[in-house]
């Protein structure tokens, strides 16, 4: 038994927190920008949102690849089976949404006739031709998936806090190394 088999790799921890910060920020910006009246600022914010979304998609792919190559630590033995299943299911769904949400954003942009150009430099191909009705449909899907993600993240954070403060089983500390030093 190596001393590190109960914790995540540094890479996994770094990717988790980097993406967590970006996801929350991007979610907030997404909520804010859709209500704006058309202005140069709105066009800028939309572009930034799209650039960050592409970035998150690539980070999610990298993270998925890392995860497939590095088994996460096993849940504590004290954890009931239903919680194990729920945690596993939540994690899988989080991965699905971290990929599906930027994909719907990209497709929506194409359907609405606005190509996505990463950082204004690298154009992503338009997989869909301009189609207003389809654009609206994809906008609805993008929003619904985001609300689903928000609900999952709340559950994920709630569970982590329960592990830390109620179960006191060290699960949160595996992802927050500074908690371990206490």
């Amino acid at each position: 038994m190596t001393p590190d088999n109960d914790r995540y790799t540094h890479t996994a921890v770094a990717l988790h927190w980097l993406m967590a910060v970006l996801l929350v920020g991007l979610f907030a910006v997404g909520l804010y920008m859709t209500g704006l009246k058309l202005s140069p600022q709105k066009l800028q914010i939309y572009s930034w949102h799209k650039w960050a979304g592409v970035t998150l998609f690539l980070l999610a792919l990298a993270r998925l690849a890392w995860r497939l190559g590095h088994r996460p630590p096993a849940p504590p033995a004290t954890m009931p089976r239903w919680q194990h299943v729920a945690a596993e299911g939540t994690h899988h769904l989080l991965y699905v949404l971290m990929l599906a949400i930027p994909l719907t954003g990209w497709l929506m942009s194409s359907a609405k006739g606005f190509q996505t150009v990463w950082f204004g430099v690298l154009p992503l191909p338009d997989l869909l031709a301009k189609d207003e009705a389809l654009g609206e449909l994809l906008a609805g899907a993008h929003k619904a998936l985001n609300l689903g993600l928000a609900a999952l993240v709340l559950g994920h954070v709630g569970a982590a806090l329960k592990h830390h403060f109620i179960d006191r089983d060290g699960v949160l500390a595996r992802m927050l190394p500074f908690l371990r030093s206490h």
Binding site: S39, L43, G113, F114, V117
Partner: protein, 186 residues
């Protein structure tokens, strides 16, 4: 008999001359297009005008005598989205209430060789008029002529996009405008 042949030959020559002197002057709106591409945050966004009127007379045998005038109903714009259509109607953009029409009036046509030509003229948008050169090609078959041309219009030359919109970092100053005008022989 010889006389008949001569008459037929003269008639044939006459027809040929007439075919050479065909003038394309009947505008075909259904087959014609006025499109444009602007750049927003470095990304090309396509748009078009649905309604425009063209008065022209073009004789391939006498291209320098050609005349042309294009009037665009700016309210017929498709700027890429409903939001954008509403926005560009306003005072900071086209100010449609005061200036409903944009126009290009050719004052001269130069033949550049082959099927390439150049119309020199004036563009008027939002009460401002600027000199413009519109290069174009013509393909014609005796029945229909198709004129394809494009030019870059600098929107700020016409105060299109004022105030915060004058920032060309968000919406570029250069707008590529493309014409396809089809006209039938008179």
């Amino acid at each position: 008999m010889k006389r008949h042949i001569l008459a037929a030959a003269l008639l044939g020559l006459g027809l040929a001359t007439q075919a050479g002197a065909v003038e394309y002057a009947r505008f075909q709106p259904e087959q014609s297009r006025v499109e444009f591409t602007s750049k927003q945050m470095g990304v090309a966004v396509d748009g078009r005008f649905r309604k425009f009127d063209v008065q022209l007379a073009f004789d391939p045998a006498k291209p320098t005598a050609a005349s042309a005038r294009i009037d665009i109903a700016l309210a017929s714009i498709d700027a890429g989205s409903k939001d954008a259509d509403d926005e560009v109607a306003g005072k900071q953009w086209f100010d449609l209430k005061a200036f409903p029409t944009a126009s290009f009036v050719a004052t001269g046509v130069k033949a550049l060789g082959g099927d390439r030509y150049e119309a020199v003229g004036k563009i008027s948008i939002k009460g401002r008029t600027q000199d413009a050169v519109l290069p174009f090609t013509v393909k014609h078959d005796g029945r229909l002529a198709t004129f394809d041309g494009s030019l870059v219009v600098k929107r700020l030359d016409f105060a299109v996009g004022e105030g915060a919109w004058a920032d060309v970092g968000t919406v570029a100053n250069e707008v590529q405008v493309k014409f396809r005008i089809v006209a039938a022989a008179r």
